[in-house]
């Protein structure tokens, strides 16, 4: 991170001071940044995107803020680069036959409707007060639950002998199998009710709006454990749906907040699109159980990070607003 601009460093070049030729000025953020630092950050997040089908905003936004990007610009530009990473990742996964487009579109339709209702719900809950507190605590509990469950389940599956990626459906799974409007999904190789998929998409949309995140962390466990999709297909299909949610949010940010920095997004997306390809290649070499166990560790890591932010005494009690 040493090459990145430090927000606490007086921003002027003094006579005789060596010029960093890889700096570029960001128009909307209003500051110069080191090209390679930004592309490196994008590459790291793209790798996660390709591996697990998540957007990676949870990680990139705070990192961008750490190098001095204003919070509102970090959030909006980060979403823009997710579009590129998810397109790149989707193509890589579709070449490997890991994207169930039909299933993805149904979840997406539910997700868009859920996102709209979620926004209304956010306004309602904000009126009650302590909204942010409730959401953060709920998020930590949810990540802890999902992460721990996936970790132990995958660990158990790795220890067992037998065909990989085969799990018996639980009580919820058996209930979902009995719902009407069943449809066969060729790529995922499963029968599932359209109502289930739309409903789950709706739920993910609401949660995504409440948590202020893309929903990849919620979507992947839901696809694997509730719908019963093979892990690799869940990753590929999840990243496909992320394209549309990220597009939607980018345009909304452009219209409402005017905070998308196209140059910042371009630098990030060059890194992230490459990272997503590499991530998809690494993921192909891993078994479903291995992929799930790494994902669960990332989920638990994010949970610890959020918990630490909540518990640590802040350096300054008054800070610039505009972020998550």
């Amino acid at each position: 991170m040493s090459g990145g601009p430090d927000p606490d460093r007086p921003g002027v070049e003094l006579p005789g001071q060596e010029v960093e030729s890889v700096d570029i000025f960001l128009p909307v953020a209003g500051m110069p940044v080191n090209v390679f630092v930004i592309m490196g950050l994008g590459g790291t997040v793209g790798l996660l995107s390709g591996l697990f089908g998540v957007g990676g905003g949870f990680l990139l936004t705070p990192l961008l803020m750490m190098i001095g990007i204003p919070p509102a610009v970090a959030v909006a530009s980060d979403t823009n680069q997710i579009v590129a990473a998810s397109v790149s990742g989707t193509l890589a996964h579709s070449r490997q036959g890991n994207v169930d487009f039909k299933l993805g579109f149904i979840i997406l339709a539910g997700g868009l409707l859920g996102g709209s209702y979620g926004t209304i719900l956010v306004n309602f809950l904000r009126g009650i007060g302590n909204f942010e507190f409730a959401v953060r605590v709920a998020y930590v509990v949810m990540l802890l639950g999902v992460g721990s469950f996936m970790f132990y389940e995958s660990l158990g599956a790795l220890r067992k002998k037998g065909p990989a990626d085969e799990r018996r459906p639980g009580a919820v799974g058996r209930f979902l199998e009995r719902l009407p409007m069943q449809m066969y999904f060729e790529v995922a190789r499963l029968n599932c009710s359209v109502i289930t998929l739309f409903g789950l998409g709706f739920l993910i949309g609401i949660l995504a709006a409440l948590m202020g995140v893309g929903g990849g962390f919620i979507m992947l466990p839901v696809m694997i454990y509730l719908i019963g999709m093979p892990t690799h297909v869940a990753v590929g299909t999840s990243i496909f749906t992320v394209i549309f949610t990220a597009m939607n949010v980018t345009i909304a940010q452009g219209i409402v907040n005017h905070t998308v920095d196209v140059i910042l997004a371009l630098l990030l997306l060059i890194g992230s699109a490459v990272g997503a390809q590499v991530g998809a290649k690494i993921g192909r070499r891993l078994r479903g159980e291995q992929l799930r166990i790494i994902f669960s560790l990332v989920v638990l890591g994010v949970m610890v990070k959020i918990l630490r932010d909540l518990l640590a005494v802040p350096g300054s009690l008054i800070v610039l607003g505009g972020g998550h």
């Binding site: 002027v12 128009p27 397109v87 790149s88 193509l91 070449r95 998308v260 196209v262 997004a265």
Partner: protein
Amino acid sequence: MRRLAGLLAGALFWLGWCGPALAQGLRVELQPDEVRVGLTFRGQQVQVTGRVPEGSDLYVRVSSSPGSTVSLNRKGHIGPLWMNVEHVWVEGMPRLYQVFTSAPLARLTPELEERVGIDADFRQVEARARVWQREAGRRVPLAADRADEYKRALTDIYLKRGLYAVHEGAVRIEPDGRFAFTLPVPRNVPQSDLEVEAYAVKDGVLVDAGRATLQVRSVGVVGWARRQAAANGVFYGIVSVVIALVSGLAVAMTFQALDRLLARRPVEARGAVRAHTAGQ
């Protein structure tokens, strides 16, 4: 209409902020008088020169427009957890404010400090700012003591970023009254014109004043992106998405081509070995 009213209020505020009622005979020259912010901008040095009445000290204030509104969050703890517990807006504080002097600021009397809007710890800037929060959809001004805390915090943020600074003794004055100093325009300069206001003080009395405007212009891609982001949100949002889609596709296709190339190479190599063996 609301935006127009806001602009008018901002302009009136700006006029009120700028300059005491005094004959502005002091000539201030900037070299260059325009800063062009493009993709390679990393800050710039501007030479400020002029002439003051003999025996005078010079106090210069460089500030951006105080028209912008900044939002601040206060963190507090609920149980053991630290959260944002209050959200306020500060308006009327310029994002850049720098002072250059030829003499210690302690020589300015409190009356003069207030008149020229210059002091050592930015109290004059803070005094002109307002802090408010929203309650039931309405703007409610904060009580003075709580507002002061937010203003001080914002000053500290700007100080850390090098946007606020006091350069005591940075101005050189020759015996004939000619003065000169270097204004270091920071790389994170706000994208609005900077007002350079100079005050000549002799024996504790303001004897002359003058001002110049340093134009800060966004040029090239930076200018285009700033204009589009501010004025054409829909178009700009769509362009951003299209760029992302095309870039993602291009990288994916490049990797696909690379994969094909790498997959073909061992086959070709095996074919060459076979042909060579057959020829023997």
